[in-house]
């Protein structure tokens, strides 16, 4: 009993001795928790921009003024400060519909382009949390404007971080600030009918593997537009079997081909060029695929045919193995029955 009392007295005195230390630890933990919470909140705010439409296709005859709406939305919970820029582009080198930006205003056409809010051209705008603003993209094409194609992006750059970079000098930490931007691409053709030649579109490539063991079959289709205006041709692949029966029809996606450039039709994949896919799994024998591209209403389409053969090797090996084993088994059984 004595020992118990002496122990409790000792622990009480120890508690008193460590009380300030415990208090200090508690305060430090609380402060650290608050700081972490604050820092977490500062960095966890998701910032975004929503722009519609993402692609504008225009064919015009001068003189004219194009006015078309572009809406920009700020889905976040902080005001978005946007800088508006226009940049010209050309077809990217991978020929899959990607763009490659040119040095700033290389053709000088961008002076005719403005983004209007109400009646004022804007280069900087603020959009409140959850707010959607409608702007007007105005393109003025004078009578003397060169018949040509102009390809440019309207860039909405969320630039609030750039300002913070200048303010960070008073903090001891180092930072990288992140801006986001969304582009609306504009394809503008001035006086296209004067410049488009029906013979300007060519089938540059229409290939597939000559020997396949099963589907899907991947087609490489590369079209070349030698004209001076962008085109959006319609195309179909007809697939016939060894008896000449039509067993497959693939409508190609309508995709733009910029003036003086080539493009692989289809959708992009990670490492390879875009491909058009015939989603048929069981294939047997020789096939004939014909690509038809419409150039202009009333004119004969461009055509190219290729052949490929499907040999389902796994199926053939499987069937052969089955037949051989069955024959051997029957023969053995017969031999044994006879030897009885």
């Amino acid at each position: 009993m004595r020992t118990q009392i002496s122990l409790s007295i000792e622990s009480e005195s120890q508690l008193k001795r460590y009380k300030p230390l415990c208090f200090l630890i508690a305060i430090l933990s609380f402060s650290f928790g608050l700081l972490t919470l604050y820092a977490g909140k500062a960095d966890a705010q998701e910032r975004g921009i929503k722009v519609s439409p993402s692609l504008l296709e225009l064919k015009v005859v001068p003189p004219t003024t194009v006015r078309t709406p572009i809406s920009v939305e700020n889905p976040g919970d902080e005001t978005a400060n946007l800088t508006i820029e226009f940049r010209e582009f050309k077809s990217g080198r991978k020929l899959g519909g990607e763009i490659e930006y040119l040095p700033t205003n290389s053709s000088g056409f961008l002076k005719n382009v403005a983004l209007i809010e109400n009646t004022d051209p804007k280069t900087n705008v603020s959009i409140g949390p959850g707010q959607k603003k409608n702007f007007t993209l105005q393109i003025t094409i004078n009578e003397k404007e060169n018949p040509s194609d102009y390809y440019f992006s309207v860039l909405f750059i969320r630039s609030d971080s750039t300002n913070q970079e200048n303010e960070s000098a008073n903090i001891s930490n180092s930072f990288t600030y992140i801006n986001t931007a969304v582009a609306t691409n504009v394809l503008l053709s001035v006086n296209p009918s004067e410049r488009q030649n029906t013979k300007s579109l060519l089938i540059n490539e229409f290939t597939t593997k000559q020997l396949v063991d099963k589907g899907p079959v991947l087609f490489n289709i590369k079209l070349q537009n030698n004209g001076l205006s962008y085109v959006k041709p319609k195309g179909v692949i007809y697939i016939k079997n060894m008896f000449g029966q039509l067993i497959g029809k693939i409508d190609l996606p309508a995709q733009n081909i910029l003036a003086g450039s080539s493009r692989f039709l289809g959708s992009a994949t990670q490492q390879s060029t875009p491909k058009v896919i015939w989603n048929e799994t069981f294939l047997l024998g020789p096939y004939n695929a014909t690509l038809e591209i419409e150039t202009e209403a009333g004119k004969p389409p461009l055509k190219k045919s290729i052949r490929f053969t499907a040999v389902p090797l796994k199926l053939i090996i499987g069937v052969l193995t089955f037949v051989i084993i069955a024959l051997v088994t029957v023969k053995r059984a017969k031999t044994k029955m006879n030897s009885k």
Binding site: D43, F175, I178, P253, K314
Partner: protein
């Protein structure tokens, strides 16, 4: 006795006969393709409803659509069409590398999220300048361990004595990072102040669901690097294909 033996053989036959059946099994299974290629297949085949040709079972991606306005909106406009919506967001707009200490690499990351309903797209990136102080002391862009990485190609950077600023892309779903596919592979950020054009970092396929990628930024300084507050701004541009 003979009949017993033949019965034993016959009992083993079903096992032997199963071999070709096992060989045939893969033929009955659906084609082995990645989720990404499945999406592509569906996108490209727009079989007319009156066709008797087999159509894809699952529609996960919307077909390419455009709203074409045939009527002349104003004199001189022959043809006008507009396509789709694009939404792009980031998880954070600030990466805090803390107080830098030499040969002690710091890695911070953000997530990019994108929805592009009707067009394939790419994400470009550039920095306004490499991290620098107000006195214009710069931490240069990394050249990685073997000194070969640029804003166009990636390379391994795991040596803590390799200094500089760089980033890497990690695809989370439906996005394709064009470079930096392996762990510890980094590349430079295209430097606008050195007249470098924005680099293509990611390409993606149109989808109504958000597509995500993670971007890891790495910063490492040499002992000779003056201490101070270094900062820069990296811009990611979501650009639809034409």
């Amino acid at each position: 006795m003979k009949s017993k033996i033949s019965m034993k053989i016959l009992n083993k036959k079903p096992l032997i006969l199963l071999i070709p059946v096992i060989l045939l099994i893969p033929l009955g299974a659906p084609p082995v393709t990645s989720a990404q290629s499945l999406n592509i297949q569906i996108d490209e085949i727009n079989t007319a409803p009156d066709q008797t040709i087999p159509t894809p079972v699952q529609l996960t991606s919307p077909p390419l659509q455009s709203k074409t306005v045939e009527e002349k909106i104003s004199p001189g406009i022959q043809n006008f069409s507009q396509i789709g919506m694009m939404s792009f967001s980031i998880s954070s707009n600030r990466l805090d590398f803390g107080t830098l200490s030499p040969a002690n690499p710091v890695i911070r990351n953000i997530k990019l999220s994108l929805i592009s309903e009707f067009t394939d797209y790419q994400i470009l990136a550039y920095e306004n300048h490499p991290p620098r102080t107000n006195n214009n002391t710069v931490i240069p862009d990394t050249t990685c361990d073997n000194g070969t990485c640029t804003e166009k190609s990636s390379s391994v950077w795991e040596n803590s004595l390799t200094y500089g600023f760089g980033f890497r892309c990690v695809a989370l779903n439906h996005l394709f990072c064009l470079e930096t596919l392996d762990t510890n592979e980094y590349m430079q950020v295209a430097n606008l102040s050195a007249n470098e054009l924005p680099q293509v970092l990611i390409k993606g396929i149109r989808n109504k669901e958000p597509q995500e990628a993670q971007i890891d930024f790495k910063l490492n300084t040499a002992g000779t690097q003056p201490s101070g507050t270094y900062a820069n701004t990296v811009t990611f541009i979501a650009v639809p294909n034409y």
